[in-house]
């Protein structure tokens, strides 16, 4: 797959990707510790270097905080901490993968970007039966082998989705209550 092809797919929609590659889809892969993970490239909005976050109170350690992404405020999640590896000791070389899921934008802190892979649907193996107490199986969409490396493909829709309480802004709620009354 040529790099110009990759760009065309990034700019296009999911259906474009399918029509170009049949059942192949592209994944951005990155490393956290010794492990390699991949997310569908269509969900990735940008990749940026680490900038210090502002902490949020009373949240689990995998919610690192929020950063200013050109005027919008997005949360940053620590993938290592989420998978039980403890909080990441960040350096300037860490990167944040900014993902757009539905209406929301969020960043995921990883160690380094490693690759962009075109992966055929039939090459994705289902995740093995794992103790759901150890890993949130619903985060995983499958496993893929690339040059003897195992890449864990993540389900971006589910990833940290439960961290978004579906709270309406308080004033809107109040207004709605008042209208109803």
């Amino acid at each position: 797959m040529s790099s110009s092809m990759a760009l065309a797919t990034v700019g296009g929609t999911r259906t474009d990707a399918l029509s170009l590659n049949g059942t192949e889809e592209q994944y951005v892969t990155f490393t956290v510790g010794n492990e390699e993970y991949g997310v569908n490239i269509l969900a990735v909005r940008e990749i940026r270097g680490w900038t210090p976050e502002s902490r949020l109170p009373n949240l689990p350690d995998y919610v690192r905080g929020v950063i200013n992404l050109r005027g919008i405020i997005i949360p940053i999640f620590d993938l290592r901490a989420r998978f039980g590896g403890g909080g990441t000791e960040v350096t300037k070389r860490h990167v944040v993968v900014v993902m757009q899921v539905g209406e929301r934008t969020r960043g995921i802190l990883v160690d380094a970007i490693s690759d962009i892979l075109a992966i055929g649907q039939d090459a994705i193996k289902p995740p093995p039966d794992v103790d759901s107490g150890l890993i949130d199986a619903e985060y995983l969409s499958g496993l893929y082998t690339a040059d003897n490396r195992m890449v864990t493909l993540l389900n971006v829709d589910k990833l940290f989705a439960n961290e978004h309480g579906d709270h309406e802004p308080a004033n809107r709620t109040a207004a709605a209550i008042d209208k109803a009354s």
Binding site: L56, L59, V66, G71, I73, P75
Partner: protein
């Protein structure tokens, strides 16, 4: 040629202003209240338009203006009596004149017959004055389909022969404004809604059926569909809408005009809607336009003359007229009739999203500018003089830019205030009280979002003032007050906020009743000693309602607490001041905008937070003897003779490396919207700053104790604290390093009964 066209443009610009003058004058013109200056001004306006038109050779326009002018001349010489019907005709004539100008401006001829109907109506007034001076009211005959009792002198039959179709068109137009037959059931209001969508309505994906259904849900509706614009089958364009409807809706009085307006909210720009209301006698619905305020006695309904053109004309409008047209229904609703179809106006309608984006970008610029300024401060002095000067200018421009952008969103509160006279009449009618509403400061400007969110609270509060505050006329007379009660609604800017006051001269808050009610509802412990002010403030507690009987108006128990919640969600405060026997005054204080906030930046450990300035009372470093240990911890501080509970922000938020000892850090005394106080223990105060409010919820979620977020000068995010939320959190024991604090922790030990603590805590001012 170029010169001539430039003069033409000047003529059209001036004409637009003259039309506005004429319309404003016409709207103030009412039978029995004829201001000759006003009449002269209208006459002059029409005359000037005619004169200029003659110079450019707009013959049709001149001919029509002449008819208009002749009638105005009659009014001026008092040969034509001013009646509601006349004013209606004149307003319509003004609209037609606007249309003629629009055609002239385009260089096209008006479609034949554009002026016929109105000319006929104008001539009839002239003839009536000449032939039957004893006749005061002269109105076109109702359409055959209408079942109006023959309240109008019916001598137009022979004229109908002369003017033929034109008269029928007027009759149809009048019919729309006329009420349906039959008396209105008592306690109900009959609305007549004439809904004339534009032919293109369907193209924008709107479905009139839904609107008709929505109307039916508001009450008993009778819907009549008019087919008169339906073309022959071979001419029929299936994508266009040829139908229009008249809906007669019998609804409860609670169903206000807004509810009906809401139904058409999304199509208001694409149709011509006339809404008239009719209530059982005495009429309780008031319309915004003065000419309608007085109507022939046979018509209990007060119709609202929308400045819309007659239907035949509306259909014939050129495409160029459309951009200006959408404003019409709204203008009718607001009672301001400055809008004219077909004429270029000096305002533009802009999508709010675009303005919001602009506001956001300006916010970004402010932040970036602050960031640059921060870096430049570290440069060696003297070497970069020009750069520094340039930056200083940039800062200046940025400030101005922000103020200007914010002012785009600003709107006068008159759009809310203008709805209130009607509400007052409605309420007065339902309660049988006599009420006069006085408003002042209508032109005070405030952010659009704030204006919009004021409608509900103000509606509630005015209802309350009339229902609970004012006495009945007889009672007022007994205590030596004028029979008519006064409600005063005012707005003004005060120290960067808008202050809205609602004052009534009623009986004031009945404190004994309020207190006993509060005790009965368990909101206050029996025997608790509350000050007058505290008692007054009890009315803001959830579930509190003093009306002995639940009335139609208020007293559903959702009153003042909802008002307070709405106001505080806008970052505002509400207060009440009452003097028994003399009245009450409610004061709302609101920020001018919801986009920026005056805040105090504080630091705790390595984190920085923003406290809204409105919450801050003062900050101080307590002496050890001011702190009082409860259960071996410094939890209460004596500040200005009052015990204030201390909340350690770092404990609440789990922030490491912060100062725990209040005597080494700072205590910021904060007050929540309901007046209770807390002492926030922080490390340091970094300074006051205007910050741009950013949502945390759009990409994440709401957090307890956090109102929103912002971006500081260095590009980092800081959380804006929600003081009321912090208080709630600290109550649940988050402030206690040793675990949850007992719920009965006495915050204000001066009150005896435990149930009183809660109340006291909320009400302490």
């Amino acid at each position: 040629m170029d010169d001539l066209s430039r003069f033409k443009q000047t003529y059209f610009d001036e004409s637009a202003e003259l039309l506005a003058v004429a319309e404003a004058g016409l709207l103030r013109l009412a039978p029995g209240d004829v201001d000759m200056d006003e009449v002269n001004a209208i006459f002059r306006a029409v005359h000037s338009i005619k004169g200029g038109g003659g110079a450019f050779g707009f013959n049709e326009l001149v001919a029509f203006a002449h008819e208009f002018e002749t009638v105005m001349d009659g009014v001026r010489n008092a040969t034509i009596p001013v009646t509601t019907a006349l004013v209606d005709t004149l307003i319509r004539a003004n609209d037609v004149l606007a249309q003629m100008l629009a055609y002239a401006g385009e260089g096209t001829d008006a479609p034949p017959g554009t002026t016929d109907g109105t000319v006929a109506a104008l001539r009839r007034h002239l003839d009536a004055a000449a032939h039957a001076p004893e006749e005061a009211v002269h109105t076109p005959a109702p359409a055959p389909a209408s079942a109006i009792p023959p309240a109008f002198p019916d001598d137009e039959d022979d004229e109908a022969g002369i003017f033929g179709d034109a008269l029928a068109a007027i009759a149809a137009a009048r019919d729309e404004g006329a009420p349906a037959a039959g008396p209105v059931p008592p306690g109900k209001i009959r609305w007549t809604v004439v809904f004339r969508p534009k032919a293109e309505l369907l193209l924008s994906g709107n479905e009139p059926t839904f609107m008709l259904r929505a109307l039916r849900r508001l009450g008993e509706a009778e819907i009549a569909c008019h087919l008169d614009r339906l073309p022959a089958l071979r001419d029929l364009d299936a994508e266009l809408l040829h139908l229009h409807w008249t809906v007669t809706l019998i609804a409860d009085p609670e169903v206000g005009r807004e509810r009906i307006d809401d139904v058409f909210e999304f199509v208001a720009d694409d149709c011509d809607i006339r809404i008239t209301a009719e209530a059982p006698l005495p009429a309780v619905i008031e319309t915004a336009a003065p000419p309608a305020a007085e109507t022939a006695p046979a018509l209990p309904a007060l119709t609202q003359p929308a400045p819309a053109a007659a239907p035949a004309e509306a259909a014939a409008q050129p495409p160029a007229a459309k951009p200006a047209e959408p404003a019409k229904p709204r203008a009718a609703g607001n009672g301001s009739g400055g809008e004219h179809a077909g004429l270029t106006s000096h305002t533009i309608r802009v999508d709010l999203d675009k303005i919001d984006r602009l506001v956001n970008m300006v916010g970004e610029m402010v932040i970036t500018q602050a960031m640059v300024a921060e870096h430049v401060r570290d440069l060696p002095p003297g070497q970069f003089q020009e750069l520094l000067e340039g930056l200083e200018q940039l800062a200046q421009h940025t400030r101005e830019l922000r103020e200007n952008v914010m002012s785009i969103r600003a709107q006068p509160v008159s759009s809310v205030f203008s709805r209130m006279p009607r509400l007052v009449r409605e309420c007065a009618g339902l309660t049988g009280k006599e009420v006069a509403l006085v408003t002042s400061g209508e032109n005070t400007e405030v952010d659009k979002t704030v204006v919009e969110n004021l409608v509900d609270p103000l509606t509630h509060m005015i209802r309350n003032s009339i229902d609970h505050g004012l006495e009945s006329p007889d009672e007022r007379e007994r205590v030596g007050k004028p029979r008519t009660g006064t409600v005063h609604l005012s707005a003004q800017h005060r120290s960067g906020r808008i202050v809205i006051e609602i004052t009534d001269d009623g009986r004031g808050i009945n404190r004994a009743k309020v207190l006993s009610k509060a005790i009965e509802k368990g909101l206050v412990a029996p025997g608790a000693a509350l000050s007058d002010e505290e008692v007054d403030n009890l009315i803001f507690l959830p579930g509190f309602s003093t009306a002995d009987q639940v009335s139609n108006l208020s007293g559903r128990g959702v009153g003042m607490d909802v008002v307070r919640r709405n106001i505080s969600s806008l970052g505002g405060r509400i207060g009440v001041y009452s003097t028994p026997g003399e009245g009450s005054r409610f004061t709302l204080s609101l920020p001018l905008t919801l986009a920026v906030l005056d805040g105090m930046v504080i630091s705790v450990g390595e984190e920085r937070f923003v406290l809204p300035l409105t919450n801050i009372v003062e900050s101080l470093r307590p002496k050890p003897e001011d702190l009082h240990g409860l259960v071996n911890k410094c939890d209460v501080m004596m500040a200005r003779g009052e015990y204030v509970r201390l909340v350690h922000l770092h404990r609440l938020f789990g922030i490491p490396k912060a100062i725990d000892d209040a005597t080494k850090g700072l205590v910021v005394l904060v007050e929540t919207e309901d007046g209770s106080r807390l002492g926030l223990v922080v490390d340091e105060i970094l300074g006051q700053q205007q910050v741009v409010i950013k949502s945390l919820e759009s990409n994440f979620r709401r957090l307890e104790g956090v109102a929103a977020a912002t971006i500081l000068g260095d590009g980092r995010v800081a959380l804006i604290l929600d003081v009321a939320g912090l208080r709630e959190m600290s109550r649940h024991g988050g402030d206690n390093p040793g675990g949850p604090r007992p719920a009965s922790f006495p915050a204000t030990p001066s009150l005896p009964a435990s149930a009183g603590h809660d109340t006291r805590q909320r009400q302490t001012a």
